[in-house]
């Protein structure tokens, strides 16, 4: 078979995303070192991060609420990519009915389901999820 002809091209696909009221409240809360959730007025489910619609019953969320900046580790996995090892955990913020994904900065061998975690804030938090650099054992 002769050499295949392969075209090497690239698509530039910039995009913007309007966060909306509830995600904005969550992101700006992070910049203030607060964790913001929302409560469903219909089924009372508490979701963190705050969101406009209940993940359980799809009702419009009511008000946002400030959560205690601590949580528990539900489950985790440790991944090594190109020599960099990171542990990703699903963390239940205290009082929340949902869990959120973030980085857990701890030796994997010391992790236990249900252990208490607290956020390590980045030194100069901006309204992005990375305002929390990682969660650490309390």
């Amino acid at each position: 078979m002769s050499e295949p002809t392969i075209l090497h091209q690239k698509i530039n696909l910039p995009y913007r995303y309007t966060a909306g009221e509830f995600h904005k409240a969550f992101l700006h809360g992070l910049a203030d070192r607060r964790i913001v959730g929302s409560r469903c007025p219909a089924c009372l489910m508490v979701a963190v991060p705050a969101r406009p619609f209940c993940p359980e019953c799809s009702a419009h969320s009511g008000e946002t609420m400030d959560m205690k900046p601590q949580g528990t580790l539900e489950t985790w996995s440790t991944v090594t990519i190109q020599g960099v090892t990171r542990t990703y955990g699903l963390i239940r913020i205290r009082g929340a009915d949902t869990v959120m994904l973030h980085i857990v900065d701890a030796e994997p061998s010391g992790l236990q389901a249900g252990m208490e975690l607290v956020p390590r804030w980045s030194p100069d938090p901006v309204p992005e999820i990375t305002a929390i650099a990682a969660f650490l054992p309390a």
Binding site: N12, L13, Y17, T18, R51, F53, P55, E56, S58
Partner: protein
């Protein structure tokens, strides 16, 4: 189709250039709430959901997953479509088929686009073949320019005739609370003096870029009659595609064979012999002023080459024999993924007698079309009486 399906409720956002107050799921929810709310329906009555848009436009993969909680779809059958500009009409056709097949009794169809959040022309360029066209094409408007110049050569249509379409659209839009471009004082001279984008297309010959969403509820005959006194019965649907390369069918805009195929099919299914006489209104997907005139011909509203004369004679004006796009059409409102569903929704509103200030009196039969990528066409006929 086996059973018949009927549109019972329609909802739209107020389409604008930029919705900075809402996220995509929030914008879509607005259309869904308006749709269900218009007939006091609730999400619990919906058996399945069909959603469509142009995924590459906003750079979101799995858009239906992002908005599942917004549209009440979690735990329900949720079908995603993604087939270019036609997608909105495909959502309506798919929803009608899901009901008519007997699989579901009540189906919610949703289509949307938040064009302000992406780079439409970059995304559209991926339509082009990587070996032959992608590196040398000029986005959608360049394509439309080539199509329009072909049509001018074929039909002798003039820039003034095209400008009359542009004026009609923006004036009609003033009667539609959801329309984006409303220009009550627009004139043919203003269109002809607007900036040339891709000859012969000037700025005001082209559709805008909008943020918006549209939703419809499709139901079985029994459920439809429970939900509204005068549903819009979906009596015929068709979809037709063409081949990839622009150069393989150079007269695509002048004589768009997929539109001819789709419209001939729905006319035949609906028993329509003379569409100009038998249709009461049409909501067609006209991406540019020239395209509307060309589509008059493919849709058999007139003979070949007579598209320009139809607008000169006022046949397609609001008070004409066959009003085309009383909503203001695509030239006034274009959230791409939603655009073709808006055509079907507007046709349904006309049949249901719910079109408000842009209602055409006594509409019994309406045509809606969808268009995508210079190739794909869909056609839907809705009627006020059950078949």
């Amino acid at each position: 189709m086996g059973r018949t399906a009927a549109i019972v409720a329609v909802g739209q956002t107020d389409h604008v250039a930029r919705r900075l107050d809402v996220s995509i799921p929030e914008m879509v929810r607005e259309a869904v709430d308006r749709c269900l709310g218009s007939k006091d329906l609730n999400p619990g009555q919906v058996d399945a959901v069909v959603v469509g848009n142009m995924e590459l436009f906003e750079g979101i993969n799995f858009p239906e997953l992002w908005m599942a909680s917004a549209i009440g779809a979690a735990g329900k059958p949720l079908f995603k479509l993604n087939n270019g500009g036609t997608v909105g009409a495909s959502v309506a056709v798919a929803a009608a088929h899901l009901v008519a097949s007997g699989l579901y009794d009540v189906v919610l169809g949703i289509a949307y686009e938040k064009q302000s959040e992406g780079e439409t022309q970059s995304a559209i360029t991926t339509v082009g073949d990587p070996a032959w066209e992608r590196s040398v094409m000029a986005g959608a408007i360049g394509n439309f320019g080539v199509m329009a110049s072909t049509y001018v050569a074929e039909s002798g249509v003039t820039a003034e005739q095209a400008a009359k379409v542009a004026v009609k659209a923006r004036r009609n839009a003033c009667l539609n609370p959801h329309a984006h471009l409303k220009r009550p004082d627009i004139t043919v001279e203003e269109v002809l003096a607007s900036r040339m984008l891709a000859a012969p297309l000037r700025l005001l010959d082209m559709c805008p870029s909008s943020d918006g969403a549209c939703a419809v509820v499709m139901a079985t005959p029994d459920r439809a009659r429970e939900m509204t006194p005068r549903p819009a019965w979906v009596v015929a649907t068709e979809t037709a595609h063409d081949t990839q390369f622009m150069g393989d069918s150079p007269k695509r805009l002048a004589r768009m064979r997929s539109l001819i195929a789709a419209s001939d099919s729905v006319y035949s299914k609906a028993g329509i012999v003379d569409p100009r006489a038998e249709l009461d209104v049409a909501e067609i997907y006209e991406p540019a002023s020239y395209a509307e005139l060309a589509m008059y011909e493919s849709l058999r509203f007139c003979d070949w080459g007579e598209g320009g004369a139809l607008i000169d004679d006022g046949v397609t004006l609001m008070d004409g024999e066959l009003p085309v796009n009383p909503s203001g059409g695509v030239l006034s409102t274009n959230p791409v993924g939603a655009t073709a569903l808006i055509r079907v929704a507007e046709a349904a509103l006309q049949v249901m007698g719910e079109a408000g200030d842009h209602q055409i009196p006594g509409v019994e039969t309406a045509l809606a079309t969808g268009y995508g990528g210079n190739a794909w066409s869909e056609a839907v006929i809705v009627k006020g009486s059950a078949p």
